[in-house]
């Protein structure tokens, strides 16, 4: 009798341990969660209500840029692509994407168009103009699911991106996965660790007081772990972005989002 009781209690303890280890690791259940869910009601309202969302100013700027003739070819975006609401619908859900054999981010593709089609100089990363055009294009996919898939063409880049995600880096020797996979839902200091899905970019981040790209956000984390940051517009960035979009596949885009 006594022996049986001991076995029961050991079993119970084991069950308890298992339960707590699952509770400590909510990502193991792998239900995708947008960091929108972690925001306060005020911040949620700010994102949802176009009259409160400051990112809509960039969308407005993007609309005028879309019509502006530029470069040596004196063409505007609209000269080729016409109405942005029709031609760019769903486009942002597919990027980063292999274009002519090269992995291209949405920002990269905008600059490619500027250089080759318009004959205009590239826009700098995080410049108001590039963010405005990105926000305008991303808005046309609002509510649509991220549709990045693994294909024979992007397979190698996706694998490299996954490796970057799991690779420890910097003086703190941390990988993206250690926080955003293994410890998502737990706390870092006072704030909840989000799963790190790129489903609302470009975002109006209150901390930045401005709109910013996914690459700015990634560089933030990299400096946080005291690592050498990937360069803006680099292939490493594009590969990591591709993996993140693939990881968030199926999630609806919220662009342009608001984050604290």
């Amino acid at each position: 009798m006594k022996k049986q009781a001991v076995i029961y209690s050991v079993g119970f303890l084991y069950a308890l341990l298992m339960a707590s280890s699952f509770a400590a690791n909510p990502m193991t259940s792998h239900k995708q969660q947008s960091s929108y869910e972690l925001m306060t009601t005020e911040n949620k309202a700010m994102q949802d209500d176009a009259s409160l969302n400051p990112a809509m100013f960039w969308v407005g700027d993007g609309e005028s840029l879309w019509q502006t003739k530029n470069g040596t070819n004196a063409k505007s975006c609209a000269s080729c692509h016409g109405d942005v609401k029709k031609s760019m619908r769903g486009i942002a859900t597919q990027f980063p994407k292999i274009m002519k054999g090269k992995l291209q981010t949405l920002e990269g593709q905008i600059n490619q168009c500027r250089e080759v089609r318009q004959g205009a100089p590239k826009l700098a990363y995080e410049s108001k103009d590039l963010l405005a055009l990105t926000a305008l294009i991303a808005l046309q996919s609002k509510g649509m699911p991220i549709s990045v898939k693994e294909t024979p063409a992007n397979k190698d880049d996706l694998k490299q991106g996954q490796q970057f995600f799991n690779q420890r880096m910097g003086q703190l020797n941390l990988s993206c996965a250690q926080c955003h996979d293994e410890r998502a839902g737990l706390k870092l200091g006072g704030s909840l660790i989000p799963q790190g899905h790129p489903n609302a970019y470009p975002i109006y981040r209150l901390e930045w007081q401005t709109l910013g790209s996914i690459q700015r956000r990634l560089r933030n984390c990299m400096s946080g772990v005291r690592a050498q940051q990937f360069e803006y517009g680099s292939s490493e960035m594009a590969q990591l972005e591709l993996y993140l979009m693939w990881r968030a596949r199926g999630m609806p885009l919220e662009s342009p989002g608001v984050r604290p």
Partner: protein
């Protein structure tokens, strides 16, 4: 030519006489505090909106002074009483010749 920027007003287009209406006014502005420095260590000069005013059929009904502690793209939400049909005019004035104007019409029944 003075500088300006985008602004946006959200308020009801119609209201009953005597009703309290909510007005939201947001302006696109960096609100550069004057306390920041460039990567090279040079101070970035202050450039903020200084005053916001709202007038209802040419009578000033709301005024706010802005300070460097106010964040970028400031949003002001305030209320007023719908007294008569007419025009509400909004004006933001700031450093370096910044000025932005917007207006909205209201029908009071």
């Amino acid at each position: 030519m003075s500088k300006t920027s985008r602004t946006s007003i959200t308020m009801p287009a119609q209201a009953k006489k005597g009703a309290i209406i909510e007005i939201r006014a947001i302006a696109q502005h960096d609100m550069e505090s004057g306390f920041r420095y460039t990567e090279g260590g040079k101070s970035i000069p202050r450039e903020i909106i200084r005053v916001f005013t709202c007038s209802y059929n040419n009578t000033e009904i709301f005024k706010a002074d802005f300070y460097p502690g106010i964040g970028a793209n400031p949003l002001i939400i305030f209320t007023t009483i719908a007294t008569e049909s007419g025009m509400l005019e909004f004006k933001w004035v700031g450093d370096d010749g910044y000025e932005a104007n917007n207006q909205a019409r209201i029908t009071v029944t």
